[in-house]
Homo-oligomer: 316 residues x 2
Amino acid sequence: IAGAAAALAADDPLPSWNDGAAKASILAFVGKVTTAGSPDFVPAGERIATFDNDGTLWSEQPVYFQIAFAVDRLKVLAAVDPAIAGNETVKAVLSGDRAKLAAVGEKGLLEIVAMTHAGMSVADFEGIVRAWLATARHPRFDRPYNELVYQPMLELLAYLRANGFKTFIVSGGGIDFMRPWAPAAYGTPPEQIVGSSGRTKWQLVGDRPSIMKLPEVDFIDDGPGKPVGIERFIGRRPVFAAGNSDGDLEMLQWTTLDTGPRFALIVHHTDAVREWAYDRDSPVGRLDKALDEAAKRGWLVVDMKNDWKVIYPFEK
Amino acid sequence: IAGAAAALAADDPLPSWNDGAAKASILAFVGKVTTAGSPDFVPAGERIATFDNDGTLWSEQPVYFQIAFAVDRLKVLAAVDPAIAGNETVKAVLSGDRAKLAAVGEKGLLEIVAMTHAGMSVADFEGIVRAWLATARHPRFDRPYNELVYQPMLELLAYLRANGFKTFIVSGGGIDFMRPWAPAAYGTPPEQIVGSSGRTKWQLVGDRPSIMKLPEVDFIDDGPGKPVGIERFIGRRPVFAAGNSDGDLEMLQWTTLDTGPRFALIVHHTDAVREWAYDRDSPVGRLDKALDEAAKRGWLVVDMKNDWKVIYPFEK
Ligand SMILES: [Ca+2]
Ligand SMILES: [Ca+2]
């Protein structure tokens, strides 16, 4: 009997999910769309699944990890460049003073993005991101940021791919910030990562070509930008999508408001002990309108505290 | 012996290519990058191949087929809308008068693009393109435009995919114009098609979401825009690329000017009998700088007349 139980566990594609309605509904959906002859069958090529990143596949507290990257990068730059060290916006950001930070505003934010995310080639930027991940540590867990991915979601991604789904990341985060590490973390190749981006420019110096990052925002892959990005990059509607905040509302609508079998999932941050608990009032990852819409539309709301056995891979 | 020859022919992955240096160089390249242990081995996931479309995968004479689509569309619109029928730019385009056409200019062209490629959802536009393909006929061959694809290039696409390459279309043509038919024609899914695009906008009316096409150009995937588009959509450098004009120069440079095994191919239109013959002086698909660069860099220049047994699938 112990052997049989172990064999059953080994067959479980979602071992970090507690048995219950959430897990059952995922298994039932994948079962019906992959059963040939079922009225809900979806051909393998059309099984498109899109996943938000911050708060859906990895943590986003106490601040979005890309902001932690930008702040760390500013410190490096300020240490070697007096002009950056003396910049008022930079001083406000590095002060850690909440009142000063609140005064930075959108113009200041764009200034910071330009300083930290432009002026180099995409390849050089990717090197900077990799070096940061190798040294930076999350303040609460004292681990590299890319270890704070959600084990149950990794299993979900792998389970979908094993069932003929093509999985994409569709994130408000920067596309060039994600591509250096997300392929290894999630098993999605660079061409299946959609994100926000700045303008870039072709440059050829001698026989050395590069794509240079310019200090101008090109595309914000958030809110209504998510279905726009999905249409532009993927060119067809997902049948499965996962998010965690109001920034995913339109992606989940785009995924579900059509004929045929469709599935939307919201990761609800309910675990203040193992992760964080926040929703309607959080400045990071606010989940308000999409939570109401989930109830109205029958989207799955995953209760992290009760639906997940572990949060991170290192807990196993 | 006849049986052995037939078996050999059946094993030939490029049966519409004449034996010769061009075919041999393609086979040699694919052989070395797919041979485990070879110094030139490239892992399957990194075998990215990008193909221009107009003049590389299908014909582009006497005018780019998307222009034929736009002109046909203008006729439909002008027949039902007096404002469009009376528009001076539209009258110039529909007159077929070369002097009037030449005077249309860039502003006029954008006006035509706005009239024919915007003001509807992407899904509705795709329906218009499909309907056009089902009824329009190419003036010389009296066949649907999507039958004028190159049989030898279809074989090359299939051969690369059979050898673990991921094939992408990277075209100056419109992404929304290609996606309705290119997947069936070339075996590349919609998410592996990169092209020029207009701005789009999310719209939700009741429970009906759509992505609306706006009358503003967003991205021109031509010339230096090709490596920019490759970086944005694919996120890694191709090891194999094919084009036919100066609009592909930067894509071929981006593909080849790096370490490791790399392959660039130019389709040279040399067959005035079966297709068209044009290069340095052609207003459509001008091949001048890229032809010089091919000689300098050792890129393969395919001689359509001598390297290809047939041009189109219907000749077989
Ligand atoms: Ca999120
Ligand atoms: Ca071309």
